[in-house]
């Protein structure tokens, strides 16, 4: 009976919205009972099935369906386990190193605020355009040259500009990622847990924020912000939390009906502790994935706003602004497009991979690394 291909279907419990353990008898376990060894103690687990015998439970213990708990493995605390799993996640580690490198490079090269950097040129100073502003960066032999990323129309050093843009974009993206996540989680959790009129009010407010076009808000606030990045970050956070609030509310709605929440209530646990200790940690996957997507999306939104003149304004710059300024030069001077573009791509990719790694690390039900 080998008419079926021998490929391995991906495990279904790999998604944050699906990571509820199957309830026996609920019928949600799937049509065909697959002894998928997510239950470490299941008798068929190839790793533990051999040492069948529970702790001194008499002569018949060999026929018990219960497994002896494997105590040969070292025991780790929760923090250690998360760290261990995260450090073993190859994609996440590469991304972390990449992201750190980009961040360090961006902030040390031209400095930040009053702190000077090691790169001699300023992003606002123009100079004579040499060699049509071509990049002088050489791979072999490795050489920085005068303008490693080239020069723009006004002869400004494009490396300094890109680094400045990276700084700005990183600050906006991570601020928005953090603030919008916090707002979304708090509102979603409160609405989902308390239900009733509180939920009705909070969700109508959420709907209100969804129906107001982001660009209208941006037009109004953008004028008031006057090109500063902190008002911009605030603005993007205010319009960015809605989807997460709805996601978290949905998760909380289903989690609050689970027995461990009822058990916690029956013990006498207060609402705050139930939300933060019992419910929210179980939504961490959703939150982290959503936060990473928000960070990646923010970089793009910010570039759109900058393009329309409501975001970062010259002489200050951001990666989005650089791209939109030089999108017309894509054919003639592609480096003006590619440098900021590649950095956006690198940041967005590594943030996504990081989110992936974090989600895997926080989920104790999967003890594998994505390699």
């Amino acid at each position: 009976m080998n008419d079926k291909p021998d490929d391995t279907t991906p495990p279904e419990g790999d998604r944050p919205d699906q990571d509820r353990p199957p309830v026996p008898g609920s019928g949600r376990e799937g049509l065909s009972p697959v002894p998928f060894p997510q239950d470490k103690a299941a008798p068929q687990d190839p790793d533990t099935a051999d040492d069948v015998s529970d702790l001194g439970e008499g002569p018949d213990a060999g026929y018990s369906v219960e497994k002896q708990i494997d105590l040969s493995e070292k025991s780790y605390s929760q923090g250690q386990l998360v760290r261990r799993r995260f450090l073993r996640h190859r994609g996440a580690m590469v991304s972390l190193i990449g992201l750190l490198a980009i961040t360090v490079f961006a902030f040390t090269s031209i400095g930040y605020g009053v702190i000077p950097g090691w790169w001699g040129k300023n992003y606002w100073e123009g100079a004579l355009v040499e060699n049509q502003g071509r990049p002088t960066l050489g791979l072999w032999p490795p050489a920085w040259g005068e303008h490693p990323f080239g020069q723009d129309n006004a002869g400004k050093d494009y490396f300094a500009l890109t680094m400045r843009g990276t700084q700005r974009s990183l600050i906006v993206a991570f601020t928005v990622g953090l603030v919008s996540t916090v707002i979304g989680v708090v509102i979603g959790a409160i609405a989902g847990y308390y239900r009733g009129w509180l939920e009705a009010i909070l969700m109508r407010i959420t709907d209100l924020f969804i129906v107001i076009p982001a660009l209208v808000l941006a037009a109004v606030f953008g004028k008031m912000a006057n090109g500063g990045i902190w008002p911009l970050a605030f603005l993007l956070s205010v319009i960015g939390w809605t989807s997460l609030a709805r996601l978290v509310r949905g998760e909380v709605l289903s989690l609050r009906e689970r027995e461990f929440v009822t058990a916690a209530e029956a013990i006498g646990t207060g609402s705050g502790r139930i939300i933060f200790k019992h419910i929210l940690p179980n939504t961490i996957g959703t939150i982290i994935v959503s936060a990473t997507l928000a960070i990646a999306a923010t970089i793009l939104t910010e570039s759109a706003l900058s393009f329309l003149g409501w975001g970062v304004r010259p002489p200050d710059t951001s990666l989005g602004l650089l791209i939109s300024t030089y999108q017309t030069s894509f054919q003639s001077r592609p480096w003006l497009f590619w440098w900021p573009g590649m950095i956006i791509l690198a940041i967005a990719l590594s943030v996504n991979f990081l989110g992936d790694g974090l989600r895997d690390a926080f989920d104790p039900r999967q003890n594998r690394t994505a390699d």
Binding site: N2, P21, S32, P37, A41, Q44, P46, E66, T269
Partner: protein, 600 residues
């Protein structure tokens, strides 16, 4: 990285009754071997199973969770997921399933081999009417078409004992009761007159009285239609009630087989013996499996629970509130175990939840440990909860998957600010020892241990604050029998040691018989009968209690046969009907199948 686990290499016991070569069989497994490829390596789920089912015969495949019994049956339908590698041969009605094309296989399913699933609610499509779903199977297999199919569907529903079948055809699955839904599933299964039916835990999701009816129906079905039934179950009582032959599976292998009398009355294999020894039996009372309860309850002991005319209502939008508990009065003394028995919808869990202060009472008095909880503010409630422990049914769901086991158990101490870090840890170690778990599980997560161990963790958590009252809501229903026996034993030990009062909610009368001092029988939110265990179990007065006790199967075919006859007499005496397949002329039933029916 294949690591097959041939952990069982001992003797296989073969009794009599196996069909010989040349005899007609409708379903035959020949050295069936199933492996699942997973990213963790290969899992050897079924290791060479041989099994044959004759027409008109019920073969029970028995085993605990993970024994591979369901996987074995799925090979006959060829419904295993794509990562399964299947060896050996499965013959359904003389055709080898493995050699058929997908198209032929689709014709075979439903036509020659049909399936009855465990949970009828999910086996039926919630957005289609009963009629649509019944007709679909027949039209797909060209058994009947159009009006003829509708007529046949009505006839089938009547056969399985659904009242007013023509009206039910237009209903949706959620409008029927659980037992009726399972009858619809059975009607669908026999609609194409299959040669063999695979019934995968067909009664596990049902109440005992409904279970007895469904088993009666299945029994008359195989007698009248001469259908072979492969019955997959973990319930030894169901086996004793239904099966002609039994095969016991353990870790993917059949360790013992034979006629039902041979296996259940004279088990040879140690596993079978252990399995049968772990089943609490109706009517055997105390002392089974070494579980002993402290029988002396001080009649003057203070009351832990005092219910007077309790009413609990669920508010419904636009409808009058639903009265889940109606005028219930009983009490529980300290050190006493009171069994709350009833079928689903009887309101037993609602009372348990009210005792935990999770749902308010609409009227009446609910005194917990001397205090009236119906008018109590938040702070008093929290103080009271410190003195109450709780165990829920599903150990997988009642432990927070993100918290290590130690923190789960210590949670009540943290919530009520008892002790410091060190003393909490000591308390947890002490409790782990009490439930026979090594203290090293402190830093493990709930998913790392198996079901029974998880439930023992729940027991430990419930006892963290030395409660005076324990509410146990179906604490062993989700567990395998051998595991249940151990959890019950630990429970009884701890009750004796700590002397807490206990409200033990269960649908399993045998477990109640084993543990409870007093029994309260509930039906539709009302108390039917209440009293000391001996009185209720041995001499029930009310019709409902009698029916409930008569419906619980025992794992002894001879005894069960007698009980079944007694139950039928009881039902007749009470003016109820005995479930059976309402069919007069089998030839007529077969004759109404269209000529165009698929030939596989």
């Amino acid at each position: 990285m294949s690591s097959p686990t041939d952990s069982y290499t001992g003797q296989v016991y073969t009794g009599t009754g196996t069909p010989t070569d040349g005899e007609e069989v409708v379903l035959a497994f020949d050295d069936v071997d199933v492996r699942f490829k997973t990213e963790f390596g290969s899992v050897h789920a079924v290791k060479g199973v041989d099994l044959k089912v004759r027409p008109g015969e019920v073969v029970a495949l028995v085993g605990e969770s993970g024994s591979g019994k369901s996987v074995t049956s799925m090979t006959a339908m060829r419904l295993l997921p794509r990562n399964a590698t299947i060896g050996g041969a499965v013959n359904v009605a003389g055709r080898e399933v493995g050699r058929l094309t997908e198209r032929t296989m689709r014709r075979l399913r439903g036509n020659d081999v049909a399936m009855v699933f465990q949970e009828p609610m999910t086996a039926l499509n919630p957005v289609l009417t009963i009629g649509t779903q019944m007709v679909e199977a027949m039209e797909l297999h060209h058994v009947a078409r159009g009006q003829a199919a509708l007529d046949r569907a009505v006839e089938l529903l009547e056969m399985v004992g659904i009242p007013e079948p023509a009206r039910q055809m237009k209903k949706y699955p959620h409008e029927l009761s659980g037992g009726q839904r399972q009858r619809v599933v059975i009607a669908m299964a026999i609609s194409c007159d299959p040669k063999v039916i695979i019934a995968d835990e067909p009664t596990t999701a049902l109440d005992v009285t409904v279970q007895a009816d469904i088993l009666d129906l299945l029994r008359s079905l195989k007698d009248k239609l001469n259908t072979g039934i492969l019955l997959i179950t973990h319930n030894m009582g169901v086996v004793a009630d239904m099966a002609d032959r039994v095969a016991v599976m353990f870790k993917g292998e059949i360790v013992e087989r034979g006629t039902v009398e041979e296996v259940l009355l004279r088990p040879q294999h140690a596993y079978t013996k252990m399995l049968l020894g772990s089943v609490p039996r109706m009517g055997s009372g105390r002392g089974q499996m070494g579980i002993r309860v402290n029988e002396e309850v001080d009649a003057q002991a203070p009351l832990a629970i005092e219910l007077k005319n309790l009413v609990i209502e669920y508010q419904r939008l636009g409808k009058p509130p639903f009265r889940a508990v109606d005028d219930v009065s009983f009490d529980v003394r300290k050190g006493e175990i009171v069994g709350l028995v009833g079928e689903s919808g009887s309101g037993k869990s609602t009372i348990g939840r009210c005792a935990l202060g999770l749902i308010p009472a609409a009227s009446g008095e609910f005194r917990l440990l001397g205090q009236d909880i119906t008018r109590m503010n938040k702070r008093d409630k929290k103080a009271l909860r410190k003195r109450i422990g709780v165990i829920f049914q599903d150990p997988a769901a009642s432990l927070n998957p993100r918290l290590p086991i130690g923190e789960c158990i210590a949670e009540p101490l943290v919530v009520h600010n008892v002790g410091d870090r060190k003393s909490r840890q000591d308390k947890v170690h002490e409790l782990l020892e009490a439930v026979h778990l090594p203290r090293e599980v402190y830093n493990r997560y709930p998913h790392e241990v198996s079901g029974g161990q998880r439930q023992r963790i729940c027991v430990a958590r419930a006892l963290t604050l030395d409660p005076e009252l324990l509410v146990a809501d179906e604490p062993t229903s989700a567990l395998d029998v051998s595991v249940q026996a151990r959890v019950l034993k630990i429970f009884a030990e701890l009750q004796e040691q700590f002397g807490f009062a206990c409200l033990f909610i269960s649908h399993d009368l045998a477990v109640i018989d084993l543990l409870a001092h007093k029994v309260v029988v509930l039906q539709n939110g009302k108390v039917v009968e209440a009293g000391p265990r001996e009185q209720i179990m041995e001499n029930p007065q009310e019709d409902y209690t009698q029916r409930l006790i008569a419906a619980a199967p025992v794992p002894d075919p001879v005894e069960q046969n007698r009980r079944r006859r007694e139950r039928h007499e009881l039902l007749l005496a009470q003016g109820e009907e005995i479930a059976e397949l309402q069919i007069n002329d089998v030839d007529e039933f077969r004759g109404s199948i269209s000529e165009e029916r698929d030939d596989v």
